[in-house]
Amino acid sequence: MKPLASIIGYGAYIPRYRIEAKEISRVHTGGAERAPVRQKSVPGPDEDSLTIAYEAARYALRRAGIDPSLVEALYIGSESPPYAVKPSATVIAEALGFSRKLYGIDMEFACKAGTTAIISVAALVSSGVIRYGMAIGTDTAQGRPGDELEYTAAAGAAAFLIGPSSPEAVATIDHVYSYVTDTPDFWRREGEKYPMHTFRFTGEPAYFHHIISAARGLMEEAGLKPEDFDHVVFHQPNVKFPQRAGELLGFKPEQMKYGLLSGEIGNTYAAASLIGLANVLDNAKPGERVLVVSFGSGAGSDAISLTVGEGVEKVRDKAPTVAKLVARSKLVDYALYLRYRGMILR
């Protein structure tokens, strides 16, 4: 596979508010629960997956430094769109001044939709249909109060502006590989507010099987081994799963140093592996190789292999880094969290 396309700009966004897992546990289990993350991000009362996608997209545009009217595709992956029917892509495209000749779509594949958006836009660029396109993974995920998902379901977005392949760019998308089976580990039926999941079934047959299959499939096709990568990013529904996936595949903890953020921000769903990638780009050196493997329930994994380009150092400081967004945090208690999430009936 020759390189598909390049990332010419990237941006992440994490809402300002955080709730600690122990605060959630205080309310529901009297503090007995062992928390899968330390804390998670919470969107403000005027935020949704569209507004945080806008923030990330604007930072990506700022880093790319191109005229927004040159952007001809906007693919948004999310499982928490503000509308059941009515795209977010149109609003963001208008708000940022993208071309009206636009391939725009909202996509859903649980937490995998963000990486699939990247692959789709890269394919449009690679095929010559467009020159520049944007892919966004964004979610303001909700768990049923008291459900174990509530400890991790967080909010975040990351956007990537993709253009023709070039070593001068921020990173080059070298190889992609996707692996999908019908595995119902997590779902939300039409009209339901909160998702259902299958507890431990989510692990072995779902998360691990797909992540490992996609990662191995990509490495086999591309002729690469774990040690060929400087950085690896896995979908991160908690801290333990990605660490275990890395172990099983033969990656060392230092390769995951920048790609694992869920302990501090929770599971940002379609944005999770993308924010990990953004943090790698904030820190990586030109020439370094990166593997990103997402996982979406239902189920499937996308694996993307990238090489960091010369351009990364020039654009890094043009927008806030992931570290800054993680550090910009304000703790809220459970009552305020309920208010911000619109869960207090008035």
Binding site: L50, T51, I92, R346
Partner: protein, 135 residues
């Protein structure tokens, strides 16, 4: 409340509201928000549409504690006049802050946020608010 729940109205205003589109008068040089064809200062019809800068400073602010009905659930919230970096003054909410955290001179950045919804079933109205600059 038909006046507040109009979809065509929101649609018509979207570009000015989403992108901070202002006017720049070719005759007297005044810049203003929102855009319109006639300069409010000198009456000239020679007004250019301009995308206003997305960063500025809180010039004056207040905390709305007794809100209009459509904003009842948001109170108390902060509204301000923000002096954009080109000198244009824009009315907007300040978000991602507690009322006690805002001060005159605070550096802020534009962000698309939800302003209100047309009830439970109607559309969501987005617009530009300002939040502290992330540096």
């Amino acid at each position: 409340m038909a006046y507040l729940r109009s979809v065509p109205r929101v649609w018509r205003e979207r570009e000015i509201k989403y992108r901070l589109i202002g006017g720049a008068c070719r005759s007297c040089g005044r810049r203003f928000y929102p855009y319109r064809q006639t300069c409010p200062a000198c009456g000239s019809e020679e007004v250019e549409r301009v995308k206003l800068p997305e960063t500025g400073t809180v010039e004056v602010f207040t905390v709305v504690r007794s809100p209009p009905s459509e904003f009842a659930e948001q109170a108390p919230y902060v509204v301000a006049l923000v002096r954009l970096d080109d000198g244009t003054l824009v009315p907007a909410q300040i978000t991602d802050v507690d009322p006690g955290e805002v001060y005159e001179g605070m550096r802020v950045e534009a962000a698309l946020r939800r302003y209100r919804t047309q009830g439970e079933r109607g559309i969501i109205e987005y617009g530009i608010k300002f939040r502290p600059l992330i540096q």
